[in-house]
Structures are given as C-alpha cells and as structure tokens.
Amino acid sequence: MDPALTRELKILLGPPSVLSDELDLMLYEFDGSVEKGRPDVVVFPHTTEHVSRIVKLANKYQVPVVGRGAGTGLSGGALARGGGVMVVFARMNRILQLDLENRRAVVQPGVVNLDITRAVEHAGLYFAPDPSSQKSSTIGGNVAENAGGPHTLASGLTTNHVTALELVLPDGEIIRVGSHLGDACGYDLCGLLVGSEGTLALATEITVKLSRKAELVKTLLAVFDTVLDASRTVAEITARGITPAACEMLDGWTLGVIEDYIHAGFPRDSAAVLLLEVEGIREAAETQASAVARICLANHAREVRTARDDRERDLLWKGRKNAFGAMGRLAPSNYVLDGVIPRSKLPEALEKIREIGAKAGFRIGNIFHAGDGNLHPIVLFDPRDAQQFKNAIAVAEEIIRMCVSLGGTLTGEHGVGMEKNELMPLLFTDADFDLMRRIHDTFNPDSSLNPGKIFPISKGCGEIRIRKSRQPVGSQA
C-alpha cells in the first residue's frame, strides 16, 4: 500500500488514531472466527465526517475499506481479506439520544450492545438482541451481521429492532435511510442494509427500538438423561405453539466444562439440559412456565428447576453465555459453527452431528438456540496441527451441508462472511447470485467495501484481491 495514504490518514485523524506498525496490525488480523486477514492500516474515526473522508482517501489510493466494531464476529466479516484500510469504530461510542417516550435510542456504531440496556434499564426498558458477546460486541457489528442471541426466539434478530441508519456509502456519500419511528416511505432500505455484512455501506449512526421489561420472567432448567429426550422436548414445545422467550440446549459434556469454569449450578451427570425462559404479565408467564415444565416432565426430564431469584437466573445465563470461553480450557482453539435446521428435525440433526464428529475423531459440544433450530456445534482443535485444523474445517463443512440437506440454512446469526461464502451455492442459484450481485454493485460497484465476503469467489462473483489463503489461526504456514 502506498505510504502516502497512511500519511494523509494521519493528517486527517491525528497520528494516535492511525496504526500501521506490523505488530499493531497483527492484533487486527483476527476476529472470533478461525479466519484471518491483515489490514495495511487501522484507523479510528471520531465522526461520520471522518468516516466519509477515510473512504474517499481509500478510493483515491484504490485500496479496500473494511469496518470493524469489537472484532468479536464469528464469520470473518470484520477481517481485511483484501488488505487495505480497517475502520475501527471504537471511538464512535456515544449514545446520541434516548427517546424514552417513543422507546428509541440513537447510537453511534461503537456503542457496546449491553451499554444500551444499561443506559435505559432505569426506565424499565432494554435492547432486545442479546448475542453471547453482548458485553463487548458493538451495535455496528450487530447491525452488519444481523446478530441474534438466545432471546431471538421471541424477540427477533437485530433487523427487527433497527428503524433508521446513517450510512457512509463506498463513494464517501453520507445518507440516511429509514425513520426514527419506522414506516419510512419507499423501499425498506434498512431491512436490506441490516445483515448486509458491511458489503454495502458503513453504518455511522443507528436508531434502535427499546423493549419494555416483562412484569415476570421465569427461568427454568430442565435436566435430561438423554440428548434425544431434550431435543424431543424442544420439538414438542414448538409443536404445541409455545414460544418461550428463550430455549437453549447444552449437552452434558459441555455442562461439565462450564461447571469447572463458572460454577453456574448445572448438573454434571446429565446428558443435556434445557435452559428455558418465559416472560410476560404474571398470568401469562406462570401459565407458560407450567406448560413448559409439564412437557419437559412428559419427555422424561429428570428434574425441572426454577431459578428462585435474579441471582440464580443471572448465574444460569452466565454459564450459558460464557460457555465458549470455558471451552478455551480444553483446547488451544475452537470452532463455533452456526447452522439452522427446521425445529422438527432437531433430534435427527443432533444424532448426525455426533456421527460426523465420531467419524472424524472430534468430540463436538453442543450449546445452542434450540428453540429456533439454530445449532452451534463447537469443534475443539489445536491450530498448530495443520492436519487437525484441516479436518476441523472439513467436519464443519459436513455439518453445515447436513443442515442444508434437512431443509435448513448456512447461518442463523453469525453471517456468511469469508467463512461460508464458498458454501453459498448450496442454497442459491446463478439467478439469485446475479440479482444479489446487482444489488451489491448498486452500492459498492468496485467492491472497495469489505471485498471477498458473502459471494463465492470460486464462481467468479468476487473479483477481489485475496492475499492470504485460509490458514489456521496462529499457524506459521
């Protein structure tokens, strides 16, 4: 990359807001996935105007731009696959407006997900999307990836909670789409932009809906002696038309790992547990809680516990949300997959995952959003062993293919990124890609923004420079 670009960026932002030393850049070549891609320069804008001018400068030097929040993404969405300028939104982290009357917050993209809830909980409100990374992931990243979380089951993904965006387009133009209170005139551009994985524009201001806290929340832990009983329970809860606020499954092996780390109170000797939450007005939540408990017991739950207070509830959720971290104690690295299946196929899918893992010699943990069929098999591996890494990738692909073959899809909340772009033809035809490509080019004609994501490169859809091939994280290869 032309060093003159770095000089111009330093003039624009000041030297402390521009990183270009190799050691610094190494820190930004990872996210939460197994992918990597090193930027040539990392910048920290403070304003939308900065972002616009950074994009224009990058265009002048013909280098790509990629946006990044906290780097917690799990599909390589915020990695600089084609090198270039990485725009990190960490310093655009202000909550600009709280409109409690209309239940809206206007925030900058670098605001941490949980900080929105912290800012409004005094008024009995919260921001519903709750990815496991919510203590660190930013709303900008949540918007790009259309992040989910355990409570997606009842409250939807990020897209269901965004009403307006300020955007910087790949030519540097600043534009607003959507409207503060929703129902903007014309096409639903907000609906298109949320989840477009940073390939169409950079969001610089986001208006989100705030939800009202329920009168009563009941958290139940159902303990099972077989995975099959637990998955049948989920299928029956769904089939009976009960939509809990959350319905998470953790398998027995994973529970042991979590207990060693968090001491959340999960039983160590069970095959699986369901962490279920129901909420609403008292009468509704109590009815739902007893219906859910009855279904658990009818499907041979050994025990159904109800959290007695907020402390017990928080502890159970802490165990769930830190599960992937707990896995770090077992292996140097892990690969968290993200596939979706129809909920009625859950027992079948879990059995197939076990078979696939056994065949390849991997122990696969399952901690996932069972209620909406969103699987997160977790494959443990040692990245220093190139063959093991290759095998882990192959297992992951086989599991995702299995999800598709059951009528499911490639990703429920992590995004396609550079993790699954080559698998996209499993679902989409040439006609589908052509239209998506035309939409892409409408915004981003030169692929200057976040190149190499979503579209399969092998199909000639992604005309980008790829500097690095897929390599295990931490490998010297």
Partner: protein, 455 residues
C-alpha cells in the same frame, strides 16, 4: 409488423389461448383508474411467470402483477400499462410443517383459504388486513397494508422468512429460506413488502406461522375529551399489558362506524372519543387485562367501559381491521390519509379535528405503532367544498411532513388524485431506491410510475 398493440397474439402463441385473456371484461377487471391493459396473462407456475416477464422485457411492455385486484387503487395509476399478470392460478401450499411453524405458499392463494388450512392445525398467519376476503397472500405483501395485529405480532417484515419471485430480467430468484432464523445472503424479500409490484413478480412466500390464541378479548371505553382518551392510551401503552391492538377514534369516526354496524355497537357515539383494545390469551390473562384496562379507564375519567360479547367482539375487530376498505365508501368526496412515523399527541389530534372548515369533516383513527388514519370528507359536490377539501388535504399532508412523518393517500376521488401525489416528497435516500429498482428491474417494466417518487 410487431407493435405493442398486437403483442397479445404473440404472447398467446407462447402461452396458449388458456394463458392469455383479451376479453373486454377481463381487461376492465384489471383496470387501474382510467387505464386498462391490452391483455391479461394467467400463468400457472413460476417458470411461466418468468417466461411472460422475459417476453415483456423483450417487448418493453409495462406490466402490473395482480392477485384478487382488491388493492389496485393503492399508489399512483401506472404511467404505462400494457400487460397484467394475474397470479391467482399459483395457489399451492408448497410446504407446511405445523410442528415447525413454517409455511411456504404460492402468491395467488387467498388469505382466507390459507387461514382455513392453518386453522385445521390451530395456527394462523397474523395478517389481520383489510380486503382479507378475496385478498391473495402475494397482494397483501406487495401492498404492505396495515395489519390490526401489528402491536402484538409486528408487520409482515417480522414473520416473512423468505420469498421466490421473478425479477425484471425474467429469472426466478429467491431470498431467505424456510427456517425461522436466517442471515444467509441479502434480505431481498424485505424489499418486496409494500413495494407495490415495482420490483418483481412475487410467486411464493415463506412465513413463520403462529398458534391461534385460546381466547380473544375486546375492551371499549368512551371518554368525555380527547385529552382523556389520549391519557388512557398512553397509560395502556406503558402498562406492559400484552395488547394485540389499541386504537382511538374521534366522534366522527364512531358515527361512520355506527352507520355500518348498528346492531353491534355497544354505545351511542355522541360526542365521545373512543378507545378500543384487543387482546389474546387464556381466561386468567384476559381477566387481568380487562381489570387493568377498566382501572386505567376509570383513572382517566372514562364515561363508560364495555366488554362486548364474543359475537360483537368479532364484528368490531373486523370493522376496524377493514377500515381502509369501507371508510373510503362513506362519502363521495373523501380522502383517506395514512400518516406513519408520527407519535400523535393529543395536541396534534386537536389541531387536526378542530381545524375544520365549514362543510368539511374529519374522521380520525389513531392506530398503534405511530400510524394514524385521517379521512377528510364533504357530503356535497359543490365546487367550493371540493376546493376546500383539496386544500385541507394538502395542508394535513404538509403538517405531517413538517413533523417528519411519512404520508400516503390511501384513497382519493379521481379528481383529487390527479392533482395530489399519493406519496409524499421523497427523502435523500430516494436515489438509492431508484438504484435498487434498477437492480431488480433494469428496464423498468414493473408497475412504472406507481410507487413513491414516480418509480
């Protein structure tokens, strides 16, 4: 020589006589305003739709896709109109897994037929929309009409999980899938909602379905003043009670409603503002909601509260759901505005209904989620009254725009529609919308001129 006028014969050669209709009755049935097509194509499958669209693109024909034709009046009349594609022969339920609560259905099936199938499994699609009798699933999504269950279930945007459609190049495309959680690829199906057929011919839609509620309840209260009614609404909104609907209407609206449903009306409209709430659940839930609403209404000095019987509940629900259908017929010279994205205050409402000139009347329905319906009408055909009506409608649209609301004219008499745009002024993002339109429909064959900004 090939001309636009003789394209129906060439299309017939392609589809067979069964697939193309040119009788005057058929053409009139597909008319929009004063325009009617030269042919109506009746495909049976998505590949046939694609073939027709390719033909239309090659011949540069302007195409309007339609279902039961119940909402062709929405939007502007097309700037050109050569061919109608009637999608009502695409009517299969392609996939329905009640245990998974997912559904994939052809665009031409009617909502009422679909509801019957879903009800057999004790499920529903929470689209309580006007024109629901004849309306097709595709037309409901393309028109983006308001659902009276939005407060509880959201809009179609919240439960449409995928779509198949034919783009303007005549290829069958899809987005989304048939699972309830999915972030794979661009959410193109969201763009189709409310696009009024300007992007693509929708052939199939995938939805998340919902269990039918055990019981439904309705609550009415009347208030001596507008302020008291708004105070009640505000307290009901803040209560956290799970309401499926919460609407307020002024005495004029109540009188029009009473004229339609005299038998079922639980009160004489008089000079009251009325609040209507609908809710779902089991008996304990309904009981709690009714009690809390009664307490809240009493705190807001309600004149009376009413919990109608089951039959009356159903009728009230239908009438309010169908407002966009019957209200335009209430007077010969009536303009119905939909104002969205405006948090209507009692002061706003007072300014609207009290700003009336002699001879003009205002019926106001404040719906949930910041949507307001306002009908301005006059009984007389006198020129002076018509001028007053036009100026009042313009004024109301300007007032709403000044508050950054999005305003559309859901209905207007033809003479008024010629002078006023159905859509408000476009925003700074309009060039992006034009580009999105071009990506879907490079030759602008779909519904030209019907949409916002003349798209």
């Amino acid at each position: 020589m090939n001309t636009v006028a003789n394209f129906p014969a060439r299309l017939e050669a392609l589809l067979g006589a069964e697939g193309v209709r040119i009788s005057e009755t058929e053409l009139q049935g597909a008319a929009i305003g004063r325009q009617q097509p030269l042919a109506v194509a009746k495909p049976r499958t998505a590949p046939e739709v694609a073939e027709i669209v390719r033909f239309a693109a090659a011949e540069k024909l302007a195409v309007i896709c339609c279902g039961s034709r119940s909402k062709l009046e929405l939007g502007m009349p097309p700037s050109r109109y050569d061919l109608a594609i009637d999608l009502t022969r695409l009517r299969e339920i392609v996939h329905y897994d009640p245990a998974d609560l997912t559904l994939s259905v052809d665009a031409g099936l009617t909502l009422s037929e679909l509801s019957t199938v879903l009800a057999e499994e004790n499920q529903c699609l929470p689209l309580a929309v006007p024109f629901a009798g004849p309306a097709t699933v595709g037309g409901t999504i393309a028109s983006g009409v308001d659902s009276a269950l939005r407060l509880q279930y959201g809009t179609a945007r919240d439960f449409l999980i995928g779509a198949e459609f034919v783009d303007g190049t005549g290829r069958v495309c899809k987005s989304g899938g048939c699972v309830v959680k999915n972030v794979t690829g661009y959410d193109l199906h969201k763009l189709l909602i409310g696009s009024l057929g300007t992007l693509a011919a929708i052939t199939r839609l995938n939805f998340r379905t919902f269990p039918l509620p055990e019981l439904r309840g309705v609550f009415f209260a009347t208030f001596p003043s507008l302020e008291a009614a708004f105070q009640f609404r505000s307290s009901a909104e803040r209560s956290g009670l799970p309401l499926a609907n919460l609407e307020l209407f002024n005495p004029e609206f109540a009188q029009l409603l009473a004229a339609r449903a005299r038998d079922a009306l639980p009160f004489r409209p008089g000079n009251h503002w009325t609040a209507y709430a609908a809710f779902e659940g089991n008996q304990p839930v309904l009981g709690r909601i009714q009690r809390d609403l009664e307490t809240s209404a009493a705190d807001c000095h309600a004149d009376r509260c009413e919990i109608p019987d089951e039959k009356a509940c159903a009728q009230w629900g239908r009438e309010l759901r169908d407002t966009a259908d019957w209200l335009p017929k209430a007077a010969p010279n009536l303009a119905l505005l939909r104002i969205a994205g405006l948090s209507l205050t009692s002061a706003d409402a007072a300014a609207v209904v009290n700003g009336s000139q002699a001879g003009l009347r205002h019926a106001l329905l404040a719906r949930p989620c910041n949507v307001t319906y306002l009908a301005v009408f006059c009984e007389s055909e006198a020129r002076a009254d018509r001028i007053a009506l036009e100026s009042r409608v313009s004024e109301c649209m300007s007032l709403a725009h000044a508050k950054k609301a999005s305003v559309t004219l859901l209905h207007a008499p033809a003479w008024l529609k010629d002078d006023l745009s159905v859509w408000g002024p476009t925003g700074a993002d309009f060039p992006l919308m034009q580009r999105v339109k071009h990506a879907f429909d490079p030759q602008a064959i779909f519904a030209p001129g019907r949409f916002a900004g003349g798209i």
